[in-house]
Structure formats: C-alpha cells, structure tokens
Point group: C2
Amino acid sequence: MSLRHAMLGLLARGPASGYDLLKLFEISLANVWPATQSQVYAELGRLADADLVKVAAEGPRGRKEYAITDDGVAELRHWLTDVEPNRVGRSDMLLRVFFLDSVDHGQAREYLERQAVVAARSHQSLLGLRDVVAGSDPLETYGRIALEYGLRLTSMQREWAEWAAGEIDRQPGT
Amino acid sequence: MSLRHAMLGLLARGPASGYDLLKLFEISLANVWPATQSQVYAELGRLADADLVKVAAEGPRGRKEYAITDDGVAELRHWLTDVEPNRVGRSDMLLRVFFLDSVDHGQAREYLERQAVVAARSHQSLLGLRDVVAGSDPLETYGRIALEYGLRLTSMQREWAEWAAGEIDRQPGT
DNA sequence: CCGAACATGTAAGCAGTTACATGATTCC
DNA sequence: GGAATCATGTAACTGCTTACATGTTCGG
C-alpha cells in the first residue's frame, strides 16, 4: 500500500487537493512511484474514511483541500521506520535478457546497445532536472539524495549494457 | 503482459509442466519477474487457448507437459525485438527517501544504513549464486549477463546508501 | 505405511490502468 | 466567447497476491 504512504508523505508538507497531488506525482515522483488520477481520488476517499487525512478547506470548482491528521503523520512515520521496503523488483528489460538466446547474436547485441542509449538518455534528463532544482534546496536534501540514486543507476545501466553488448561477440553460435 | 512472455521464454528451452515452470521462476527468475503458482496455471490455460503453447504429453499425477508452438516462438521473438521495455520502476525503498524529512536525522541515517546492509547482503547472495552456476555455461551467457546486472546494481545501492547516510550529517536541523 | 514432493486448479480481493463523464473558472 | 486549465468522480478491465481445496506417486 505504498500509494497511500506516498500521498501521506506529500500531504505532510502541507495541504493539497487531489489535483495538486496529481501534479506532484507527475513532477517529482514520476520515476519512483507513478500514480494516475483515478487512483489518487479514490485513495483520498479511503484516507479520509480512515481519518488519516481530512478536508481542511473547500475552494472554487468543487476543490477540496486535504490536510494530514495526527493519525496520518503517525502512520507515515510507522511506514518509514518500521516497515521493510520490499525488495522484489520486476524488470521487464532484464527479463528479456534471459531469453535473448531465442534471437540471433546481432539482434541480441542491438537490444543491449539500445538499452545503453536509453539509459544514457535517462541520465541526461536527470542531469537536466538537477540543474532546474539546483538552487532551491533548504529542505530538499532528500530529493537530491533520491536524484543521485537515479544518476548512479542510469550510469550503471549504461556501462553494463555496453559491457554486455561486447560480451556477446565473445560467444560462439549464430 | 510480461508473465506470458517469461513463460514462453522458459518453454522455448524445452517442454515443461506448470509445476516445472514454477520451479524455474523460483530459482532463476525470482529477482527479475516473480510469479505465483496460481498465476502460472491460469496463464498456461490462456496460452493454450491462444495456441502459443500446447499440451505435448501427459504424465502421472495429472501432469501436463506443455511445449511452445511456432506461433509462440514468433510471439516471443516479437516481444524481444519489437516491444520497448517499460521503464517505469516502482521502488518503495526510494519512495521512502523522499519523505525522510518526516523523521529525525538519526532515524533517517539508520534507514539509509540499513539499506546499505541489505544491498551488501543481496550482493553476497548473488556472488554465491554465481559460484553455484559457474561451470555450467555453454548456453548460459545471458544468465551471466543478467547476474552481472544484479551484482552491479547491489554494489551501486550499497555505495549510494553509505554516501547518503553521510550526507545527512552535513545538513542543519533536527 | 507415511511423509515429502509432485501436481493442478479455483475464488476472493487488492492495486493499477484506461476510458468515460461532467462541470467551473480564468485568461486572452 | 472560447480555449486552457482547474477540478472531481465512476466503471470496466487486467495483473498479482493470498488462501482454499484436492488428489497422486515416490522413497524410505
């Protein structure tokens, strides 16, 4: 139930509407925990039912501004410190690697080279993001730490894919 | 629909029953694309309906051995070469990092140090796996490449988490 | 003979995606 | 006046998890 906690985490920084939360998911959480509009509104309802958030104000166009409650803060802290992150990562990029022996060496190499390019591109786009956010951090230490993870991950992926593409030619067969 | 393709990929190596596939998921795909018993049997039914696999033999205890069909091989190759891997990774470990400003510095540092230990542990377990599989590879080039990904990932995670834990003390606040 | 391993299936429920549906306000 | 943006909600469907349910064969 991480969507729930992502929303609590965002609301811990200040009140927001469903619409606001959606924007925050798109700009800052897109690469970590994407969420759709329909999910956000539905979960806000459940959070309110559970008294982890409450409607703090209503605005024009039916806008409902939600604020986190004390129970919500407690739940967020509990999740942060007591619940083990789950380590099962599904990667359909890596899954394909397992089955690359079903195509010929040329296609396998192409696949890996393409992944190297994609990783390099992601890396560049994260570098761009870093420059945009550059000055703004008094509280943003943790945002920077998460961004650094992305930079290191995409570097690693690029290097690995290039190495792997090279390995293929060292093998006998098609 | 990657479960479907994971199953086709495994069946491309030779016929297997649902039970066999389940074992293969547990031993070789557990860290890349986990699957449960109930998923595997249900998907085998759908694959057979779509003529991507067929029952090739029946054995004792109701055992049904499935073999991939030509259509199945075509579908697998199509997925390998024409379908872009989806790049949205959900990480509940990284999601927590964004919200670590909701707890004090000590708890945040503890969290990151714990992640460093977990990563180191995973790394060790992959090294163990590498030794087990060591001699067996004529076909297993791609298994080794995937394993190398895991090794590089867990190294990166350990280094990052240690670096991040250090960063926290450089910040003002609680 | 008994326990472990082999073997298959169904059902309920939760999480996530895509598509549908509607309406109000602001800015130009 | 009209387009963009703000704003909320519902419905259908797919994929995954957990739990239930049952029966067979092999090895010691």
